[in-house]
Structures are given as structure tokens and as C-alpha cells.
Amino acid sequence: MKILSDIAALVTGMWITWKHIFRRPVTIQYPEEKRTPYPRYRARIVLTRDPDGGERCVACQLCSGACPVDCITMQSAEDKDGRRYAEWFRINFSRCIFCGFCAEACPTLAIQMTPDFEICKRDIMDLVYEKEDLLIDGCGKSPDYNYYRHAGIGVTQPRGSGAEEKPPVDVRGLLP
């Protein structure tokens, strides 16, 4: 009988909720009690440096392109040594939704997300972080990665001496 199984389903449901009434709540009383987020937690964004201390960010605009709320703006420029870098770099955290697309899009692992989720300011303008506020003195995750070693165009090392590169071809050389 379908009606009997329906009623049984109703009763089962009611029984389950009844049991839950007497369970211990899982709630944490947040400001007093705090939970440590996991290291990969996606909160406040930082800009990291490569192992040699150079800025990882090459201002390629992929993060701002990937950002669904357009909270990242920057201006790229060329340094004296040929490095591409961000002349200014701005994240408007009052817009940021912490989706992590920027970190995922970042080809140089410059943008990374930290577990620091407590970004609260009295003035909304204080949530506009400039490059000075974002740049940290460290590599964050992937401490050994240096983008320019793999880029294949030189810049931090002579051309043809990066990882997985042959020395430059001499088109006038004798060998075929």
C-alpha cells in the first residue's frame, strides 16, 4: 500500500528531526571561539615573491580577466631588466567574493589566497588594497617556483640557460 509507506516516510522524517532536537549543536560561538582554517582556505589575497625575492606578479591581467566581480585592477609596465611588473595593483576587497578564480588563473603563482578571513574595516575605502598592502616577503605556497626560469625567454638568466632550454642557436654556425 502506497499510502502506508507514505505515512511511514512521514513518521520516519518526524522521528529523525525529533532525535536531532537532542543532539549537541555543532555551532561555534564565533568571536569568542575561533576555528583555525585549513592552510588552503580561500580568504585574503596576497602577492608573493619568487625564491630570489623578485615580485612574482608579471601583471599579465589574467586574474583581473578571470575575476567575476572585476575587483582587480592593475597597470603593467616594463622594468629596466626587462621584467614585466605591476606598476600599480589594486584589489577592492569590498567587491571580492573570494572565489579563488584569480589564484587559479595566475600563471606565475603570484596571487595566492591565505586563511586570514577576518577582513573587516570601518571605512569601505580601507578595503581597497594597493600593491604595498598585498605584497608579502615570501613565496607562500610553491616556495621553489620561479616563473622566469621556465618562461623560456631569459630575463632573469641569460637566454637559453633556463630550465629545459638549449643554448641559443647560432644561425651562422658551422654545424648543420
Binding site: 597597470q75 618562461a151 638549449k166 641559443p168
Partner: protein, 628 residues
């Protein structure tokens, strides 16, 4: 007309079309690197593989090399073809650096697009990559040989299409190198097109190096204002800064390319010295105040010196919209002179040459490219209208004979020097074209046109909208400012984007200027109103053949963000008008002035026979004004 089936779609195309073009005609994209519509086929990259299922040829074929034939059944999605293309792309990518984040081509890179389209996302090759040393190719073009995929487009363009000899391909097999004999600036005046034509980032625009990404670009169809040819361009701007100018295809005019002068001439728009605020007697003011003062001064001048003491001065670089409003303003202020030219000589030669051009006698660049006999008479196209020289070269490549009258003229093709046009066997030619300059009145071609009915004329005018200015001067009875000032009646000048020589301004008590450049006239003016540059407005200009073309607004006027302190950027600081953004198109300022004087609002510059230009599509080939 052969009929074939591509991916279940029946296509009918002209004889001689390739399968690749036939597919493009029905919006089926086939990856390609070495094939380019302007360069034709090379069969070098192998990326355009398709499978021929039925018909005269079968199996995997290069679609760019294969002319269509009746009964062909083509599949672009056949697993075999897809696998072939995937492998080709993988091979092309073996030595390609992982530098997309620092490559200016990133985002507008054909190699990127086709690599992703082919489904090749991860590099499997674990060996070492070949590298090259770059060359310094001068201030405009950045060289990055590591990115090269050996499609040969650059060298085919540079040597064959543009006739350059200082750039080519060296070496053989796995170490070919595209470059010059030694470091140094590329000599061809069309070298900038390497940036557009390279399917990846070997050649990038050095002037816009590391500035922005394709998806952030502000772009709109535009028209070059460098010379009178009106080549079609797509200027690229970001953050109120004109970054670069790229070529835009217009088969009738410039084809696929533009000259270096047009491409690398954006500095005036970004010039920090550009006047951006209205001035009244050297004091910064608002637009309304300046207009009020201007109307008052006009009235005062006329009171003081009598009616007819005001000269309204336009110029041949002024957009058609504003030029059309000048007669209205002249009438309202009962101006003594309406001028489109400052010098009498320029007015006379331009007007007289204009009289020769009609729908039938005016040669477009396309007609030059298709001509079989070209006479360059008394002008230097490479100097005054470089794209004409390139068009001449294309005709020469197709077998046309080129004759040059005059000394010291260089063309990017072989030519025969003749003493006079009479020595050219024009009568034997089917589609002869005569190229002459409006600034040279010595051998006026009027007589030739009568002699040779099939002869077409390409006149090089001095400036972007000379044609429009001369046309209006003829219709509205415009005189040259030189003559008007000489009459002694003129006591006030309203200059609208005109470059008036200092000696003409010397005795004039009242000068007002509308302009976007810091000219001598602007410095001399008591009242100044800023106007927008061509990339900051919608406008129309008429090129040397009488083709009206629309250019669209690319960016908002205002100081580029680049020069501003980041602390003043939005969202830190918000304002409705960006700093220095008070400029408006000259015709709108004129319309406001006319409204102030007459009380009648002006909402539309095009009226009468010009009305058809209202809805002119910037993406079209333009409208010949002979047809209006």
C-alpha cells in the same frame, strides 16, 4: 561555380577558391598559420588539415592548398583530421616558450587560440627547447624569436608584399631564423604590419609594450588621419590612453595593411601638453562660460568693426560634421569670410584637383592594385601617401608596368622613368591609373582625362579631410584666410582645428580657437575650447577618392590614468567627468555656439544632400560622395 559539401553544409564558391576559404565563407573555422588572405597560400604550417571524404581527391589534405572542385565532400571534424591538427599544433608548440603571461600577443594570439581549439593543453615533450637570440629591430618592433613557429608569414609579407630587402629568413632545417643581417631598424615603411601578420608574438608593438591585454582593450573601427588616403584602422586604447593602432581590413581602401606612419603616430593624442580645459583670456573656465564669452566677443567685434569682420576658419583635418556646421555659423554671425584653407595656393590646387574627380575617374587603392599601367606623376607616394606605394607594388607584382615622371622618387617596385606623361603608352592599357598630388599644379592632368576615357586618377591631397574641405569650400563659397585677411576687413578669427600661421594672426585683435592640439593658434587665442581627437569621437572624413568613411569613438577624452597618482584613481576618488575630460567633438561645441547665437538647437550636423551619411556604417566600405 563549383559546389562542394563541407561538414554537411553545401557551399558554392567561385572557381579558384581554396577549401579553407570556402569553409570560412560558411563560418566554419579551420586553423591556419601560414595562409593569410593577403598573402595566399604557402602550405608551410600543415595546421589546416581536413579530410576529403568524397570527390576528386581523398584523405587528409591541406585545405589552404586545395582549390575547390565540384563534388568534394570535406570533413573538418573527422577524427583523423582532428588528430592530425592536434599533432601538428603539438609539434609547433614543442619549442614555444611558456611566456604567454609576459607576451603582448597573449589574448590576441592565433597560436593560443588554435592550440586551445586543437585540444592541446598540456606539453608532453620533456626535452629541451630550442632558443634564439633576439635582434633589436628599432624603436617600433620588438623581436622575440623563441616564439616563432616558422610559418613564414613575416618574410613573405615583408619581402614579397612590401618589397623590403633587409629582413628575411636565414639558416635551414631546425634553426631557421627570421631577422635582419644585423641589429637595426627595419627599413620598410610598412614594417609595422609584421605585428599584425605574425600569428604569435615574434613581432609585437614596442610602443605599446607591456601595457594591456586584448580583453581590456577599448577598440572601435576608425580611419587613419595621417594622410588623405583614409586607411581603415582599429585604434586600441585603455585607461584613456591611445596604446596602439592596428590595421583594419577594407578591401576597397587599404586592404589588410597600413603604413608605419599611420600605425606609430599616436603620440599627439597622448601628449601631456594637449590643451584640455576651456580658457578665457588665459583663465581656466567652464565650457558654458567660454561659450558665453565667445558669443559676447563675436557681438562686440562686430559692433566695433562692423558686420563682416569675423572670419570662420576650418581646416582640412577637421571632421566633416564640424565642417558642415561652419557655413551655418558663418551665416548666423554674418561673418565676412568662411575659410576652409589658410593658404590661397592650397585652396586653389585642392579645389582644382577636386574638380577632376567624379565617381568614374577616381581610383581607389583597390583599383590601383588591379591596374595594369600606373603613372606616378610629380609626386612621392612613399612620402605623402605611403599606402599608395604599396598598392602600386601589388599591381606591379601582378604584371603592371609602372612609370614615374619626376626625379628622386623611390617606389617599392621596379619602374620606368619617363620625362613626361605623354611618353606613357596609356592608350594601350586597359586599366591605367595616374597618381598625382594636389599640392603640385605643374602638370595638371585635366587634358589627359579627356584624351583617355579609361584613365583613372588617384590624387594625393595634403590632409585627411582635404576632399571634404575643398568640396564644402566650393559649395559654400569659401575663400582662403590669406585672401580674407589681406582684404583688411577681418578683425576676429574663429579657428576650428585650423593651423593658422602666425603672420595671418598678427594684426587680428580677437582670436578664438577650438582644437585638441597645442598649436600656435591655440596659444594666440583669447578664447579656447578643447575638442576631441579623432579617437575620442564619432566622425566622418572624406578620403582622396571622395569616399566618406565613419570613424567611431574609441575612448573617452581625458588625462590618461597613466600619468595620475594611484591615490587619485577610482575608487579612491570619484568624479562624474574624468580629469581633463571636458573636451567634446568640435561639431558639438559649434552646435552649442549656434544654439547660443540663434536660439535654435542643432542636434544633427548632416542635412540636405549630406543626410545619407547619418547612418553610415563604420564597418562598411564607405560611401562615395559623388553618389550623394
Amino acid at each position: 561555380m563549383p559546389k562542394l559539401i563541407i561538414d554537411d553544409i553545401t557551399v558554392e564558391v567561385a572557381e579558384g577558391t581554396t577549401v579553407l576559404e570556402a569553409a570560412q565563407a560558411v563560418d566554419i573555422p579551420i586553423p591556419h598559420f601560414c595562409w593569410h588572405p593577403a598573402l595566399g597560400k604557402a602550405g608551410a604550417c600543415r595546421a589546416c588539415a581536413v579530410k576529403m571524404l568524397e570527390g576528386p581527391v581523398k584523405g587528409i589534405q591541406m585545405s589552404c592548398m586545395l582549390p575547390v572542385q565540384d563534388g568534394m565532400v570535406v570533413s573538418t571534424t573527422d577524427p583523423e583530421a582532428v588528430a592530425m591538427r592536434r599533432h601538428i599544433i603539438e609539434w609547433l608548440m614543442i619549442n614555444h616558450p611558456h611566456d604567454c603571461p609576459v607576451c603582448d600577443e597573449g589574448g590576441e594570439c592565433q597560436l593560443q587560440d588554435f592550440t586551445i581549439a586543437a585540444g592541446h593543453g598540456i606539453r608532453r615533450y620533456s626535452g629541451k627547447k630550442r632558443t634564439h637570440v633576439n635582434q633589436d629591430l628599432g624603436p617600433f618592433i620588438q623581436h622575440e624569436m623563441n616564439r616563432c613557429i616558422q610559418c613564414y608569414r613575416c618574410v613573405r609579407y615583408y619581402q614579397e608584399y612590401a618589397g623590403g630587402t633587409d629582413f628575411g629568413v636565414m639558416g635551414s632545417a631546425g634553426r631557421v631564423y627570421f631577422g635582419r643581417f644585423q641589429d637595426g631598424e627595419l627599413e620598410s615603411p610598412f614594417s609595422g604590419n609584421l605585428v599584425d601578420i605574425c600569428p604569435t608574438g615574434v613581432f609585437t608593438d614596442k610602443t605599446a609594450r607591456f601595457r594591456a591585454r586584448y580583453w581590456d582593450y577599448e577598440m572601435a573601427p576608425s580611419v587613419c588621419s595621417g594622410c588623405s588616403l583614409g586607411c581603415n584602422t582599429t585604434p586600441v586604447a585603455r585607461y584613456r590612453e591611445l596604446l596602439k593602432i592596428t590595421a583594419r581590413k577594407n578591401e576597397a581602401v587599404n586592404g589588410w595593411f597600413i603604413c608605419d606612419r599611420g600605425r606609430f603616430s599616436n603620440s599627439a593624442v597622448n601628449d601631456p601638453q594637449r590643451p584640455r580645459t576651456p580658457l578665457v583670456d588665459g583663465r581656466e573656465s567652464t565650457r558654458d562660460e567660454a561659450l558665453e564669452a565667445l558669443a559676447l566677443r563675436i557681438a562686440e567685434t562686430e559692433q566695433l568693426y562692423g558686420t563682416g569682420s569675423i572670419a570662420i576658419v576650418g581646416s582640412s583635418r577637421l571632421a566633416l560634421e564640424a565642417a558642415l556646421l561652419l557655413p551655418q555659423l558663418a551665416q548666423l554671425t554674418s561673418a565676412g569670410a568662411l575659410c576652409y584653407f589658410t593658404s590661397e595656393e592650397e585652396r586653389a590646387t585642392t579645389t582644382s584637383h577636386l574638380g577632376l574627380l567624379s565617381g568614374g575617374t577616381s581610383a581607389s587603392q583597390q583599383e590601383i592594385r588591379e591596374s595594369d599601367c600606373i603613372v606616378v606623376s610629380g609626386c612621392d607616394p612613399l612620402q605623402d601617401a605611403p599606402m599608395l606605394a604599396l598598392a602600386v607594388r601589388q599591381a606591379w607584382r601582378d604584371g603592371a608596368t609602372v612609370y614615374v615622371v619626376g626625379d628622386g622618387i623611390v617606389l617599392p617596385c621596379e619602374f620606368t622613368a619617363v620625362a613626361a606623361v605623354d611618353a606613357v603608352p596609356l592608350a594601350a592599357a586597359k586599366k591605367p591609373v595616374l597618381i598625382c598630388s594636389a599640392s603640385c599644379n605643374s602638370d595638371h592632368p585635366a587634358g589627359l582625362l579627356v584624351q583617355h576615357s579609361q584613365l583613372k586618377l588617384a590624387v594625393i591631397f595634403p590632409a585627411a579631410n582635404s576632399y571634404g574641405a575643398a568640396q564644402l569650400a566650393g559649395e559654400q563659397g569659401g575663400v582662403s584666410l590669406e585672401r580674407a585677411v589681406a582684404s583688411g576687413k577681418i578683425k576676429g578669427i574663429i579657428s576650428v582645428e585650423a593651423d593658422i600661421p602666425a603672420h595671418l594672426l598678427a594684426g587680428i585683435p580677437f582670436v578664438a580657437a577650438l582644437d585638441w592640439r597645442m598649436t600656435e593658434t591655440v596659444r594666440a587665442a583669447q578664447i579656447f575650447l578643447p575638442t576631441t581627437a579623432w579617437v575620442e569621437m564619432d566622425g566622418t572624413s572624406i578620403n582622396n577618392e571622395g569616399r566618406a568613411q565613419r570613424f567611431k569613438k574609441v575612448m573617452n577624452p581625458g588625462l590618461p590614468i597613466r600619468g595620475l597618482d594611484p591615490a587619485g584613481h577610482p575608487p579612491h576618488l570619484h568624479r562624474t567627468v574624468p580629469p581633463g575630460g571636458e573636451a567634446q567633438p568640435a561639431w558639438q561645441t559649434l552646435a552649442l555656439l549656434i544654439e547660443r547665437v540663434s536660439g535654435e538647437p542643432v542636434t544633427e550636423p548632416f542635412s540636405g544632400r549630406w543626410e545619407r551619411l547619418r547612418g553610415l556604417d563604420a564597418g562598411s566600405e564607405g560611401v562615395m560622395i559623388h553618389d550623394l
